[in-house]
Symmetry: C2
Subunit: 294 residues, 2 copies
DNA sequence: CCATCACCATTCCAAATTGGAATATCAGAT
DNA sequence: ATCTGATATTCCAATTTGGAATGGTGATGG
């Protein structure tokens, strides 16, 4: 027997002080109401009503239990409404994970715009260059360079980075400047460990397996190592533009066609995706799209 | 579908993070668990778990709802236990209604003893000479002279009052002092309106229908009227003993055999009578029984 | 890369449960 | 004493539920 259904019937009966009237109000039969109350009393172990062929009245235990039932139903309704609201409106706290360089240099501005457009959303951004587990760490959205290999996740492409290759002038002086990609085999490279194919570089639609000297999950670390002359690295252009200007780094294969590095917003797939997640993903994707157009 | 049952299953699944393990723990099948969670999600309108052929994990909504479910089950268990405790132990507040003269002169002492013997019981005594409705006024126990005519009520006899007949010396001087009950027909009487047979007095096993001058639901009022010389009244002996001594009243038919007036403790009949009620009724009945023996 | 495994969803059918209608029962009202 | 209005009970049809088997899917390991 459905106890919750019995409780709902009980509230009606207590209010109307009649099984028959309750049956009419609930479009059922008096017998059904009687059975439900009787079952509930049996389950609880005490009687809810004093019965009398003419009328019924709550026992003291029934009165006390009724108070609990009112609380229960109200709390349940409110809780369910609250959760549904959080899923359907742009409210709540959005937990984002993003790699440090991208976060600070590319994400801060659009996040600020998003917050202005969605004043009821708070953002908790966790800057982490490691490959986070969205389930374990309870993250709503992760910004990732690598294509998703996780299951149960959806990804939306945000943009394609223009990748560029570079090394320090010092390194090139000591090891020679490669002019064609084929020469990469003579060099040591700095690779990004979280990329699915970290040691396979693609230039002019050809793939080159490079010799790794250092691999790291931190793009900034790799840039730093390149500046120190450890080898050749490949990174999104925006990340090293400043270093080119300061002559800390020299670009290689500048006129060759390079593969682009896509960036994704990854989020847990669900039938009822909290709206703040969808809102943010759509917002940030169209932000980068319009940025590209300019 | 029984939502409460689903919620209970949900708590297990959330803890074990597995439908299969839950099915084993609950001695059911994995399919049944799956159906229950699926139904609950449909009812709520949001998903509780992220699913993955290898494992499941709570969604953020699921996490939030789980907290509510824990609260709900705990509150429900505690409430039901509390009410059952109140019904099975001598705890709580006992609401007693008693007529004023009896309350003050006969009930105060045994109530004090009962409170000492049952320290967890509080007493709310409503002194009222009217015929109270135990249901409407939410009274646990009513002390009454009249035999119960109400249905749904049970009565336990506490004692038999020795009834005595009396009038003021003044009245007797003016109207003559009746020596045998047959002379009552020449007198006017003061009767107790709440008695079922207020105007039928029984002396020496014979019944006499008396002429009423005043009828009242207040015994003390009737005594006062008798003192003022309005007529002859019949009351329990203890109520007028003092007036005899002060010569405000004179006893009549002193050596005749008089009917006794029973006093009852009346309480609502119920399958699960709160224990404090049974305890009090038994206590007070045995108190008067032993008082009689002394 | 493919076979295997572990797990959840679905389907189908038998079994248990529920609800409706009629009937019994009960106590107050007339 | 009978009538009336209310709840309890009974019986059966309809619905719902649970179990077993099947299907589907993604992780794992050789």
């Amino acid at each position: 027997m459905d106890k919750l259904a019995c409780i709902k019937v009980f509230r009606h009966v207590a209010r109307l002080e009649s099984f028959t009237a309750t049956a009419i109000e609930l479009n059922t039969t008096q017998g059904a109401v009687s059975k439900k109350i009787a079952w509930l009393e049996g389950d609880l172990g005490f009687t809810l009503f004093h019965r009398n062929s003419r009328k019924i009245s709550l026992t003291s235990a029934g009165k006390q239990y009724l108070g609990f039932c009112h609380e229960l139903i109200e709390k349940m309704t409110l809780t369910e409404q609250l959760i549904n609201k959080q899923l359907s409106l742009a409210v709540g706290t959005l937990k984002i994970s993003a790699p440090s360089a991208f976060a600070t240099q590319r994400l801060a501005v659009p996040i600020r715009k998003f917050l202005i457009a969605n004043p009821e959303v708070k953002i908790d951004i966790s800057v982490d260059d490691k490959h986070v587990d969205l389930y374990r760490d309870d993250i709503d959205i992760a910004i990732r360079a690598s294509y998703l290999k996780d299951s149960g996740l959806k990804a939306k492409k945000l943009l394609d980075h223009d990748v560029c290759y570079f090394a320090s002038p010092d390194y090139l002086k000591n090891n020679g400047t490669p002019v064609v990609p084929e020469e990469l085999s003579k060099h040591t490279c700095l690779t990004y460990s979280l990329s699915t194919t970290s040691n396979v570089w693609q230039i002019n639609k050809k793939k080159f397996v490079v010799r790794e000297l250092v691999t790291s999950d931190s793009p900034e670390m790799l840039v730093k190592m390149a500046i120190l002359g450890c080898g050749i690295a490949a990174m999104p252009k925006w990340m090293v533009q400043e270093s080119f200007k300061m002559n800390q780094l020299t670009e290689l294969f500048a006129d060759h066609q390079k593969s682009s590095l896509p960036m994704y917003a990854v989020y847990k797939n669900s039938d009822y995706l909290p709206y703040r997640i969808r809102a943010f993903v759509d917002f940030i994707a169209s932000y980068f799209e319009s940025e590209l157009a300019n």
